[in-house]
Symmetry: C3
Subunit: 305 residues, 3 copies
Amino acid sequence: MARLTRKQIGEMFGLAPGEEERVFTRVSGYETADAEAIVFARDAAALEIAIESAAGLILAPLGTAPGRDARVAAVKDPKYAFAVCARWLEGPKAGGVHASARVAESAVLGEGTSVGAGSVIEAGVRIGAGCEIGSRVTIQAGSKIGNGVVVQAGAVLGSTGFGYVRGPDGRYVRFPQIGTLWVGDDVEIGANCTIDRGALGETRIGRGTKIDNLVHIGHNCRIGEDVMIAAQVGLAGSCVVEDGAMLGGQVGLGENVEIGAGVMLGGQGGVLPGKRLDGAGKVFWGTPARPVREYLRDLARLKKG
Amino acid sequence: MARLTRKQIGEMFGLAPGEEERVFTRVSGYETADAEAIVFARDAAALEIAIESAAGLILAPLGTAPGRDARVAAVKDPKYAFAVCARWLEGPKAGGVHASARVAESAVLGEGTSVGAGSVIEAGVRIGAGCEIGSRVTIQAGSKIGNGVVVQAGAVLGSTGFGYVRGPDGRYVRFPQIGTLWVGDDVEIGANCTIDRGALGETRIGRGTKIDNLVHIGHNCRIGEDVMIAAQVGLAGSCVVEDGAMLGGQVGLGENVEIGAGVMLGGQGGVLPGKRLDGAGKVFWGTPARPVREYLRDLARLKKG
Amino acid sequence: MARLTRKQIGEMFGLAPGEEERVFTRVSGYETADAEAIVFARDAAALEIAIESAAGLILAPLGTAPGRDARVAAVKDPKYAFAVCARWLEGPKAGGVHASARVAESAVLGEGTSVGAGSVIEAGVRIGAGCEIGSRVTIQAGSKIGNGVVVQAGAVLGSTGFGYVRGPDGRYVRFPQIGTLWVGDDVEIGANCTIDRGALGETRIGRGTKIDNLVHIGHNCRIGEDVMIAAQVGLAGSCVVEDGAMLGGQVGLGENVEIGAGVMLGGQGGVLPGKRLDGAGKVFWGTPARPVREYLRDLARLKKG
């Protein structure tokens, strides 16, 4: 089991010295904390409650509690420090393919990568090292997955995209969906998501991007790095979402939409095909999406009548 | 096979006496009804059609057809009586785990609980009695499921929630998602739903709550009893939905939203993070959600220009 | 492996004669094209790029490039011709049930139908010829599937619908969901979709209809032929969608909604229970959905204040 000493934590976050040899083995909430548990307090009020717990180490904001309890360690961002400790305490990944998973002979899995029960990894798929592929995941041919990627239960990667051409008889013929899917390092993909491979080209999810449950990403989308995509978001084909953008729950993007770097689009917002939203840190909302101030002004006008 | 006599049905719903020993073995629509089938008529017009069928028992509203056909039984709420008969006729559940399901040794299943093909029940999960876990369901560690719970195919219970902390390098680290999921008795969960476990605490679904397909419920949500959640609804983390509330299809709730007891929120309605909707029987609609009258008045104003 | 000669393609699309015996084995994008590959150009600008590729045949619009390169073949609709060639080159389907799929003994599968890993086909299900059932699909009892149907990974067909009756004690009892599901020829259903069987009657998906990922279709819906349904659309119970209609991504229809033949409803549009939209080729948008011109005029008015 992984463990952290007070000293190690001190070195990571520049803590003032404490009981340096003390050992911690887990993070927890206040109720279930014990002497080996690390907890965090987001502010002075939370710290009051944290101190009542049995936690062995309390990460608290700088300046909240100078010296009042030996267990309190002041850091710049306690929540971040807590998350980093949690990650560390998970320890190295064992890896291994569950007996009931079906991994094609020609698929390649990196070291320490695990594949859960009932998952299906098709021919030619390449998965990097240290990945956690949950239970009942499907990764279809033509997919290449980086290192440290997490895919939760039921997700489908590399599915056939939705592209059809209507013939002179009024019937639809499928446009070939024979492209690829590329997923960068440290991407996390939620349960029951569906991510289509490219039609002729590539669908791309950049390093560090996090995707919540039940998200749909259409063929040929290009998602940048460190993008946050909340649950039930849907991207039609060929969308571009640049680095650090944030899409709220149930957002919908039409075909060929572009979301600029660092743009935030509020929940249920919708963008018309071919449009672009731009401006790092700028917040958009509504359907069709507009700057949030404008949207709220519109709503206020409605109320006044 | 389960069966009901006219007498038993009479006792359940206070029917006037009829052919007391007559036996019914199924419920059905009009077209496929036979002498052993029970049908219902919601009103006098439907009763005209029902009488043309070969059904052996016709549940009809009080007062619609006094004595015109021996098969007609007048009850206060024929649809409800029909549903209760249907439930009864399903009989006791056989239970049993399909050979292809993967149930961890340390998981505990109650009597009469069935687990369908390809399902995955992780270590330490506890499932009560008389539950129906469909095919290809995943129930992750940290989940405790009550009695009489129905989980349809492809649902994922106890998935890892969507919580990250951004570091000084701009990259996201996952906040620990090590809490639990508690599901009360008689809850029903639709196909391909995703319900996250708590981050540090608990996600809770109260007794009798019904959840349609493709619904997402984030970490630490607390859903009350007898709540109705239609398809594709999405709840961000830490929402509270109180007893008897109703959420229409594709509703979206931001983080920390509270929906008061008995509130109805119309389809596609959206609520901003931290807001509360209140008032039993009150109907809300739109994004951001407002009382339906207000929303419709706003729309009417728009049209007038 | 399937192959097409220049002559065969010429006969299909009325091409001017070329190197009639030349053989093509695949379609591709420009970058990966070789002498056996067919590509297409949607217009004169694309043709310039296509000509730089190593493709053996370039399908181009009539009139774009008379005789400048022997590889260019002019057709009325190059994208359609390309899709038809792609379909042809897929060749006959091998069929076959993956060893890990669970097909009930009483289920019937047509010739050339394939069932992927981990899929579950319940008792009494009938599937036609030449179907492709992906991995981890569930098709529940009471489902009848036509010929040439494609069902992608994780989809659930014939699930239990969302219908409940509230009793005098305030608790919900499930209305029986014992009907059937009928899916016509050449229907395609995306990954992780959920399609409910009828309550007492039938849910129906007409020939040639195409359904994208994560779509929900409630009990007793009747979908016509050649309908296009984009990702994450949700249909409540008993909706009717007539032939050739198009529903954009995340559209939501309330119970008993009717969408007339050829109607187009833009992404995220919502229709109130019991309403009907009508007019072939007419475009609707917004919630509640109204003619798109009206919706845009409303938005413009808002901006003017």
